[in-house]
């Protein structure tokens, strides 16, 4: 199917790659269909989470293991019930990245990770109770 994207214009995607966020994203609860789009030259360090329905709704996301290797959020199974997870290893975690004018000050939202079950392509953004994880975690540098 063809979709319009923020970074790549009009592209073809496999409908099977569409990830369903039943509750959308926080603040965008009505946008439920997304795809992960990458640029393979960038070796998956950074990737786009692109809304299928709204071309301008696209987030740069990054897996926290690349910049916060100790990040081990306690996620209540019941909180991610709708992802119908059978085992932990089918879950991928992503943080939404915010890039200010000075790109070196880019931050990742560790407080509200995006969780995707790669087995059934269901996703959810949750907010962690842990006060140690920040909404604006500096990707490069001291936090």
């Amino acid at each position: 199917m063809e979709i319009k994207t923020k970074a790549f214009g009009s592209i073809e995607i496999d409908p099977k790659d569409v990830i369903t966020f039943e509750k959308g994203l926080i603040g965008f609860e009505d946008k439920c269909r997304f795809v992960l789009l990458g640029n393979t030259e960038v070796d998956e360090l950074l990737i786009w989470l692109q809304s299928v329905d709204d071309p301008d709704l696209a987030f740069v996301v990054m897996q926290p293991r690349f910049f916060a290797p100790d990040y081990k959020p306690q996620i209540d199974v019941t909180e991610i019930e709708e992802l119908k997870t059978e085992s932990e290893d089918t879950l991928l975690l992503y943080s939404i990245v915010v890039v200010p004018t000075d790109a070196k000050k880019m931050t990742a939202n560790l407080k509200a990770p995006v969780i995707i079950n790669v087995k059934n392509n269901k996703g959810k953004q949750i907010i962690l109770n842990d006060e140690n994880y920040k909404i604006k975690h500096l990707i490069l540098g001291d936090n």
Binding site: K6, I26, L45, I96, I127
Partner: protein, 83 residues
Amino acid sequence: MLVLSRKQNQSIMLGEKIEITVLEIKGDQVRIGINAPSNVTILRKEVYLQVKEENKAALQGPQIKLENLAETIRKTRNDEKNK
């Protein structure tokens, strides 16, 4: 907005499955207990709003190119290593 007054230990039901109880009133703070099914998200409003704002902030700014961003990350990390 429906407005109700409750005394300590009184409760409010939202549907059959959600119960909100005033546990304690101390000065200007109210301690509230919530019983709800696990699929109901319960958040302090200001935290919800902060995350919403941050999601919106992620959409702002100049067009991002993943390659440039990745390059900035790699370069900064290399510079740190070589210090």
